[in-house]
Symmetry: C2
Subunit: 333 residues, 2 copies
């Protein structure tokens, strides 16, 4: 099992109120670079910040790292449009940072990224892979892509109160800017990403298509952004079995109808509950209160822990350890 | 323990008769990209070749990979001037492919690469690291650097008959092209690399200096190129303990006076003999005959195997397995 993370950016995250993936808008550009350092090394190395939400909810990278310290899975990070330096080794697929979805072409290189990622996914020697994402603002571009494909699926949020009305307004503006109506990109995933998406969606969709075409099992590790990626794969005409592993926080999000979406997209759904309500540490309480929910492959990592029968008590202890290390209360790994 | 590989290129490798790190000169540019794929994935993924010498000696990446399949060490690859695509995730230090050492400035970005690698080495959270290299033509640039520093150390060769006279002629031409005499770069490692080296040496030297400065133990994994890297570190004024882990093939190379060089540079020498004479498989016989010798961190990987008390019999079986997989006689990992 190889665990792949597509890390990138979209200027859509700069829209006020869209994302909680950073303590302040100007720090958000560092979030994906820091996230992949936390999963790779256990703490930021070159990134100047530890990503937290404005209210102090720690990045889900903490949970994915905690699982990695228990299971030591192979990690491969794809540069899907990072705009700040990272010390984590990355595979290039030719991506650059995504523009605001309200531009005509937020991902002008969508075709190139998709094809490069597809070749990479097809060439990997593994029998099975998981792929997750880290991109602030990604649920809004996911909604954009789902709308362009005419998939009636709503998206989740890293905020406790999902700003769905704001996202829908942004998507309406984005459609208008690209001179599109709902459904105009149905059956054309690259066009959908090019005009309404972000470089991470181009990467995850291309990678998944390539991996499936070469006979590799794929599990999408994440929430509603991964539903958008799955929709892109289905609109590419790929009918192979495909899994989605996410957290109970997404499954319990009442703004999302997860099982219906998985039925519609023919996805094998795997929901893992890390039972964060069993621990009142700050690293977990915000999740219990509905913040964070997913990202950085958290749901997939938890599924791996569950499959390997890792004790959730000990995993929660590890989450506290990683968190305290990040916040200076403990020594490095 | 983190195992780091600096992978790059120098046009010096194109000089006829200089390097055995490829079946033909035009394939040599792919060698480092393929090497790091073999260590990362067990076989080339994006690189179109399996590196072998003109006589069929397999790349030492095969041995390093065989050790990794036994020990599963953490691998971090630095792009130290690759000029062909690779699917292995890499850390960027701003390197580009090196020019022919007979140019005035074969590594014009030496300062930037050295400083970036130094920051990376200093920031890593590990207690101890090993660093190895893959760069065809690298022993010639190593001789160039050693000469510029006035270190009286000869270099080894991936060829069974070391073309030392040719290398010395190239180095003489290189000195003249840079308007230098022997020793003119003593005490100035960046200048030595800039005018007589390659981007891998800039990377390894900078990384090692940064790691040592931050209190991390460093073992240089390789042969005479790593002696040149060690000389650069010493000429940077760093006196910390520093290890060199290499193979018995380098230690037994009569053109090299390894122990004297290690004394002079104050290096803790660790020589590991993989006892390839115990096996007549093609993957090992060329080494017994004096080809290959080192590279892709082979000596360091063997030292890790030895320290972990890996049985050399089983390691040799694994070498055969990796080799056969690369050459289509077995299934993937």
């Amino acid at each position: 099992m190889r665990f792949v993370l597509a890390a990138g950016t979209t200027r859509t995250a700069q829209i006020d109120g869209i994302s909680a993936a950073g303590a302040a808008p100007d720090l958000m550009a560092h979030t994906p670079s820091a996230d992949v350092e936390i999963v790779e090394y256990g703490r930021p190395v070159r990134a100047p910040i530890v990503p937290v939400s404005p209210s102090g909810c720690p990045t889900p990278a903490v949970i994915t790292r905690a699982v990695r310290e228990q299971l030591d899975f192979e990690l491969t990070v794809i540069d899907a449009g990072l705009i700040r330096p990272t010390s984590t080794p990355t595979v290039s697929v030719g991506a650059r940072g995504g523009e605001d979805v309200r531009e005509t072409e937020p991902v002008p290189r969508a075709r190139e990224i998709y094809e490069e990622a597809r070749r990479f996914g097809a060439a990997l020697p593994d029998d099975s892979v998981m792929i997750g994402e880290t991109i602030p603002g990604g649920t809004t571009t996911a909604l954009g892509v789902l709308t362009a494909l005419d998939e009636d699926i709503t998206v989740s949020s890293s905020l406790p109160d999902n700003p769905l009305r704001l996202k829908r307004n942004v998507v309406s503006e984005a459609l208008a800017a690209s001179d599109l109506s709902r459904g105009d990109a149905a059956g054309d995933p690259v066009f959908a990403v090019n005009s309404m998406g972000d470089p991470v969606l181009a990467t995850v969709a291309g990678f998944t298509v390539g991996a499936l075409e070469s006979g590799t099992d794929v599990t999408l590790a994440g929430g509603t952004q991964m539903l958008a990626a799955a929709a892109l794969v289905r609109h590419a005409g790929i009918d192979d079995p495909l899994g989605l592993a996410t957290t109970s926080f997404v499954a319990n999000d009442e703004t999302v109808t997860l099982t219906r979406a998985c039925d519609r997209l023919d996805l094998d759904l795997e929901v893992t509950d890390p039972e964060f309500n069993e621990n009142d540490h700050v690293s977990m309480q915000r999740y219990v209160e509905g913040e964070g929910k997913e990202g950085v492959g958290m749901g997939g990592a938890l599924a791996l822990a569950d499959r390997a029968a890792v004790d959730m008590d000990s995993l929660r202890d590890n989450v506290v350890e990683v968190y305290d290390r990040l916040h200076g209360d403990a020594d490095g790994p």
